[in-house]
């Protein structure tokens, strides 16, 4: 198994490539989910705000 990971001596380059790629995909998905959470929270606050004051904010 370890022989596989050694990539015949190119381990750093191969896993450095795939590691960063997967990491970057993961970060992008996480950011996209965060963006949705933030805007929904903001919209809820806006709605509560309009309901309390009775007119559109």
């Amino acid at each position: 198994m370890s022989e596989f990971f050694a990539m015949n001596g190119y381990a750093f380059y191969v896993w450095g490539s795939y590691g960063v790629a997967v990491l970057v995909f993961g970060i992008e998905v996480w950011l996209a989910r965060n963006r949705r959470k933030n805007i929904l929270r903001e919209l809820k606050l806006m709605r509560m705000d309009t309901e309390e004051n009775g007119e559109r904010a």
């Binding site: 996209a32 949705r36 805007i39």
Partner: protein, 245 residues
């Protein structure tokens, strides 16, 4: 039953449709990505010249192909938004830009990690590498220009012009290996087929399709957030169940 395609060009109806579509792109993307990498690492043979280092190809080539394609699609949406004043088109262009920049970065990063053992250098001012770097800057410029202008509609127009003008760079990247004497390898996959080993071809193609599905899923998710942000004061957003709950 005539399908009214324009019905889905309104942000409110597209918001719902995009929400339903995302899982159908996201899950196949993950499955195909794993499958492609499995074939790439366990089925494809060792390369005679580069031994195991060549396996970087299964992420480097799809990322590079996509970095170019996404830019053309982004410029296309931006142009549509500019010409027809359709807000959703401009929103799609804005949604694609970060993912395109990401793939340009991955293309450059994996290329550098492949170039170091094979060429002995992380970076060379080679025609292909330099034009890809310009592509990354164009993406970042598009995002920055879009973000820097307060009024979304004016921001869309300005960014659209940059995207359209910048699209001349994509054919330059593609043909760079033919026009100039570059260190970067010429096109291995030509219309006439490829000299690659069949398992290598399969792995790369599967990862390419996986990345395509990933791009669509992420762009749809991001465009939904953009729609909510831009239409925050509208009635239909206010009545969304996720806002009501």
């Amino acid at each position: 039953m005539a399908i009214n395609w324009f019905k889905y060009s309104a942000p409110s109806t597209f918001y719902g449709l995009a929400g339903k579509l995302i899982p159908f792109f996201a899950w196949p993307a993950a499955i195909l990505f794993a499958t492609g990498l499995y074939i790439g690492f366990f089925v494809a043979p060792t390369d005679a010249v580069q031994s195991e280092a060549y396996r970087i190809i299964f992420i480097h080539v799809p990322a590079s192909i996509l970095s170019m394609f996404i830019y053309l699609i982004m410029a296309g949406y931006a142009a549509l938004g500019l010409i027809f004043n359709t807000r959703l088109s401009s929103m799609m262009a804005q949604a694609l830009a970060p993912t395109g920049a990401l793939f340009a970065f991955i293309s450059l990063w994996t290329g550098a990690l492949w170039g170091k053992p094979m060429w002995g250098a992380w970076w060379v001012w080679d025609a292909r590498l330099t034009s890809e770097l310009i592509l990354l800057f164009l993406y970042l410029g598009f995002i920055a220009l879009q973000a820097s202008i307060e009024d979304p509609r004016r921001a869309d127009k300005a960014a659209a012009l940059l995207a359209i003008v910048g699209s001349v760079n994509v054919p330059i990247i593609y043909f760079s290996v033919k026009w100039w004497n570059t260190l970067h390898q010429g096109a291995t996959i030509k219309m006439t087929g490829t000299s690659m080993h069949v398992a290598m071809q399969q792995a790369m193609f599967i990862v390419l399709v996986a990345c395509w599905l990933y791009v669509i899923a992420v762009a749809l998710a991001r465009v939904r957030s953009i729609i909510l942000e831009r239409e925050r004061n509208t009635q239909w957003v206010n009545e969304l169940k996720e806002v009501q709950s």
